[in-house]
């Protein structure tokens, strides 16, 4: 069984008027069936308001489904006595790096999660050392987070989650506020964690370039899961992706346009090298 499993998952936001009556209900997530296997690098794509962040918050049990069920490592997120175990298994990294760092020193922030879990002191130090090393931030352990760049802050945030020894990390648009350099740093750290530590990574994003290396891509639109498959399968549907308000990577787009104008090219080109090879053949 997969580490994350959702069946008919639905979540409605309600707006109330002064009398506590429901004025407006909007379906943020509707009827989502989702399976993510342990060890996968999964990406969830969608434009603003597609429900991808709402879905992410369900995996960490920050939100409870109003319909359907979500299981994290076999635990139903609606069971309140499992709440802390679910949050430990499925860590979460948010968009704004400034608003999720609690400590005034890098190493203290990384230790925050284990402290909350009641891990003994010596163990906390061991975990902090390991997690900082895993994201390549050991050299900055005594620094103040305020002095770090955006990419470094996000790596500290990832280390903070790793120190809780989760089986799965959910990242809600972790690179949206970073410059291209910082974005690369964060993605590299994530890929390494996925490959070396076998942590399941669920990356929520709207940058197409970031999902090229994913094992599985899920596309969301208006609260529904509209497509899923490998990046190659997904990006070969250029027209459908556009309907969801998403662009495919530039190279894929170029290949698509060339094919439309009559060139003989395969449909699943993802990288520049592949396109060069295909054209030169």
């Amino acid at each position: 069984m997969g580490i994350i499993r959702a069946r008919k998952l639905g979540f409605d936001y309600y707006r109330y008027d002064e009398n506590g009556q429901v004025r407006e209900a909007s379906h943020a997530v509707r009827n989502v069936d989702l399976d993510i296997e342990a060890g996968q690098f999964a990406a969830v794509l969608g434009h603003n308001g597609s429900g991808k962040s709402t879905l992410a918050k369900h995996i960490n049990a920050l939100l409870m489904p109003t319909e359907g069920t979500l299981w994290v490592d076999g635990m139903d997120t609606r069971q309140e006595n499992e709440l802390w175990r679910i949050r430990q298994r499925a860590g979460m990294v948010f968009q704004n790096p400034d608003n999720q760092i609690i400590g005034t020193v890098v190493e203290e922030d990384v230790g925050f999660g284990p402290e909350n879990m009641g891990v003994p002191t010596e163990d906390i130090w061991k975990r902090v050392d390991e997690s900082l090393k895993a994201v390549g931030m050991t050299a900055y352990r005594y620094h103040s987070p305020n002095k770090l760049s955006g990419g470094q802050k996000q790596r500290v945030a990832i280390a903070g989650v790793m120190a809780m020894r989760p089986r799965c990390i959910v990242l809600d648009e972790p690179t949206a506020m970073l410059d291209p350099g910082g974005r690369k740093e964060v993605l590299k750290a994530l890929r390494e964690l996925n490959q070396k530590e076998q942590v399941t990574v669920i990356l929520i994003t709207h940058y197409m370039e970031e999902v090229v290396y994913a094992d599985r891509v899920f596309v969301m639109d208006q609260g529904e899961l509209v497509m899923q498959g490998t990046p190659r399968e997904i990006f070969s549907h250029v027209e459908e992706m556009r309907k969801c308000g998403l662009d495919v990577p530039q190279v894929t787009m170029l290949a698509h346009e060339l094919r439309k104008s009559g060139m003989q090219l395969p449909e699943d080109i993802l990288t520049r090298e592949e396109l060069v090879d295909a054209i030169c053949q």
Binding site: N60, L62, W84, R87, Q88, G91, M92, F94, N96, D98, N99, Q100, I101, I102, G103, T104, V105, E107, E108, G111, F112, G113, P114, E115, N116, M117, G118, V119, P120, T121, I124, W125, V128, P145, N146, G160, V161, M164
Partner: protein, 267 residues
Amino acid sequence: MIRDITLGQYYPADSVLHRLDPRTKFVGTLLFVISLFIFHTFPGYGAATVFLAGMIGLSKVPVSFMFRGLKAIFVILLLTVVFNMLLTPGQVIWQLGFLKITWEGLMQAGRMAIRLVYLVVGSSIMTLTTTPNQLTDGLENLMGPLNRIHVPVHEIAMMMSIALRFIPILMEETDKIMKAQMARGADFESGNIMQKAKNMIPLLVPLFVSAFRRANDLAMAMEARCYHGGEGRTQMKPLKYKGRDYAAYGILAGYLALGIAFRIWGI
């Protein structure tokens, strides 16, 4: 420029005082303040001076930093001295109309001035050698017993340390909003106090909104990392007394005993 403001007044150095447990330093400062009120003669103040000078020497913090805090209390100091000099009854030394300076008044003024100055310098030693974070930790630990009467000690300490972390961020944000408003013609400089205060509104409203948004995000991030209050929480850097702390307590006890002895024998 606004980013350079340091919090508290911690002066980084490597001294015995810097390495002492924050609890020791807090208790020590408290005892020193008490001692200032136990001593009431000049030999006594001499002893306090020796103790204070010793601490300043140990702290490796430049003396000028110690006396910086005095600027803030200068007016209070001046008023205390003047009123004590003029209003204490006793043997008149000098008189001008209804103003008279008495010998007793002079003594009293001197005592008050010494107490105030030593009080400020003494507590400066603590804040100069302890990071705000250590101070928070120490306070949380010392206030621990208050938990029994349902004072949320851990929560208060957590709020303090979060505030410490967010002050520079909010400062930077203030700077940014200020510049953005100035670029659109806002005027923060001219006008009288009332007008200036009114001009601050376009600065304060977005600042508050963003502070609340940050608070909301942070609360969610903390929950996502299993924060559920102080219960069942362990510490990465638990406070532990070491040999030097016991030595410090020994010295403090000796110093306090001296003060009490002076008082009993009336020196």
